[in-house]
């Protein structure tokens, strides 16, 4: 215990720095995947068969394979197989590759949630809008959108909480996120080596972060409870 307290001033800043990288990946994924998911959802629902089939195939592959493998392929394939290291070197390159993998993976999950949300709004809502002389666009934005959002907030919240922890998968391509930072003290860095507790301690970061998000997303859900 004494040792931990002694090492704390060195370990915490390192973990904080790692957590910043975790947070960055988390935010980039959300900002990219939330809208991209809508595009993919519309693709999957398209009446143009080739497009909807292709989109569904992509969704199947992305959701049917581990994110970890997607990360490895996206990061290493261009450089090692195609001899064209498009991601560049160092932490910047790793972050770029991880961002692409995460955005694409999560967009596919969001797309399926959106699709369910869009299709769950009863047809009567659209028909009521039509007989009142509204355009399809007006019906989407003024009638259906909020009902959709209400339906998708719980499952999207679930994905967001999962994403908090999934960011740790980027450790596999050595992105210097919080787990990587904790592990560094096992191998030895800044005069500390063979310490396992910093790695265990990273769990606290995830726990606090997901706790904060749970409260915020719960508030959003509550805000939409004024109608049924």
């Amino acid at each position: 215990m004494e040792l931990i307290l002694e090492q704390m001033p060195i370990v915490l800043p390192a973990l904080n720095a790692g957590f910043i990288q975790t947070l960055k990946l988390f935010l980039v994924t959300l900002v990219g995947a939330l809208p991209l998911g809508l595009v993919i959802a519309f693709g999957a629902m398209s009446r143009f068969k080739p497009l909807s089939l292709l989109t569904k195939l992509v969704i199947w592959i992305v959701r049917g394979t581990p994110l970890m493998i997607q990360l490895l392929i996206i990061y290493y394939f261009p450089g090692l197989v195609l001899d064209n290291p498009i991601w560049g070197s160092g932490e910047k390159g790793r972050f770029l590759a991880a961002s692409v993998a995460f955005v694409f993976n999560y967009a596919c999950y969001f797309a399926e949630i959106y699709r369910g949300g869009i299709q769950s709004v009863p047809i009567g809502q659209e028909e009521a809008g039509l007989v009142l002389g509204m355009t399809k666009t007006q019906i989407f934005f003024r009638v259906k959108l909020l009902q959709m959002i209400k339906r998708i907030v719980p499952p999207v919240s679930n994905e967001i909480i999962t994403l908090v922890k999934d960011t740790s998968l980027s450790r596999i391509i050595a992105l210097q996120e919080v787990i990587w930072a904790g592990q560094a003290f096992m191998k030895g860095t800044q005069g500390i080596s063979g310490a396992i507790w910093p790695l265990f301690f990273t769990a606290v970061y995830y726990l606090i972060f997901s706790g904060v998000l749970t409260v915020l997303l719960g508030k959003l859900e509550q805000k939409l409870e004024y109608f049924r």
Partner: protein, 262 residues
């Protein structure tokens, strides 16, 4: 009294099933027609054709001598025009279809506001127009006996109240013809009275209406004309008293007899 609506030779099939077969009728301004018949007889599909929610395979629909739809004339089928033509008709659904995220008042105002925004003078007189729409909507809800309920959301209202909001919402656009698709079928029995009462009031004010209903006493009481449909055809139409008391067709007799037995 002038003829307001003329429906001529409407045919409609879904896949292989013929749902409407050569349906023709007309309706005078200020009159009410009740359409009765068992489930699956094509009543609802007919209303949906009038409101352009379904496109018939054949036939003509005219309102005030203007051809709104003629399946032989492609010029009448343009998507952009259909939106305006729909406004000739109002439709009250069996399941209300109120917008859940809006209050009763907002439900009534929404479509009217969106239409007003398309008018060139909207930007100049925005406040004024919005006030007008609000005043009209409030008046309609009062007329429906909902003065106390205007700011409630649909889930806070009873079925009968919801249906009265839906009627106000349809009336706000001042349709030439207001259609009702089994307006009381989704209601608890004790709530049908309040909805039928407002429809009766509208009839007394000479609102032109088409009412599809299973409430036989009401159909007879409110209508100037009754249409009995069976298996996609109009079997019999005429004066309510005649149709209910002296039906000429065997199928009408059987249908009415079944209703009397309960």
């Amino acid at each position: 009294m002038s003829v307001l609506l003329e429906v001529e030779h409407i045919e409609k099939s879904f896949e292989e099933t013929k749902v409407l077969k050569d349906v023709s009728f007309s309706l005078n301004e200020g009159e009410v027609v009740s359409i009765i018949g068992s489930s699956g007889s094509g009543k609802t599909t007919l209303l949906r054709c009038l409101n352009f929610l379904e496109t018939p395979d054949e036939g003509v629909i005219k309102v005030a001598n203007e051809v709104l739809l003629d399946m032989k004339n492609p010029a009448t089928l343009k998507e952009s025009e259909i939106r305006k033509k729909r406004l000739r008709f109002g439709l009250v659904f069996q399941s209300f279809n109120l917008f859940p995220q809006y209050t009763a008042l907002e439900n009534v105002m929404l479509a009217k506001e969106l239409l007003a925004k398309e008018q060139p003078e909207y930007k100049l007189r925005k406040k004024e127009i919005q006030e007008e729409i609000k005043a009209l909507s409030v008046k309609l809800l009062q007329q429906m006996g909902l003065s106390e309920r205007m700011n409630n959301y649909p889930h806070q209202l009873s079925g009968g109240q919801c249906q009265r909001v839906a009627i106000a919402r349809a009336l706000a656009l001042r349709p030439d013809i207001l259609c009702f698709d089994e307006p009381t079928s989704a209601l608890d029995p004790e709530l049908t009275g309040e909805v039928l009462r407002v429809i009766k009031e509208l009839a007394d004010q000479n609102t032109t209406m088409i009412i599809v209903t299973h409430e036989m006493a009401f159909a007879r009481d409110v209508a100037n004309k009754v249409i009995f449909m069976d298996d996609g055809v109009i079997v019999e139409q005429g004066d309510p008293k005649e149709v209910f008391e002296n039906p000429k067709e065997e199928r009408t007799k059987q249908f009415l007899a079944r209703y009397k037995q309960g």
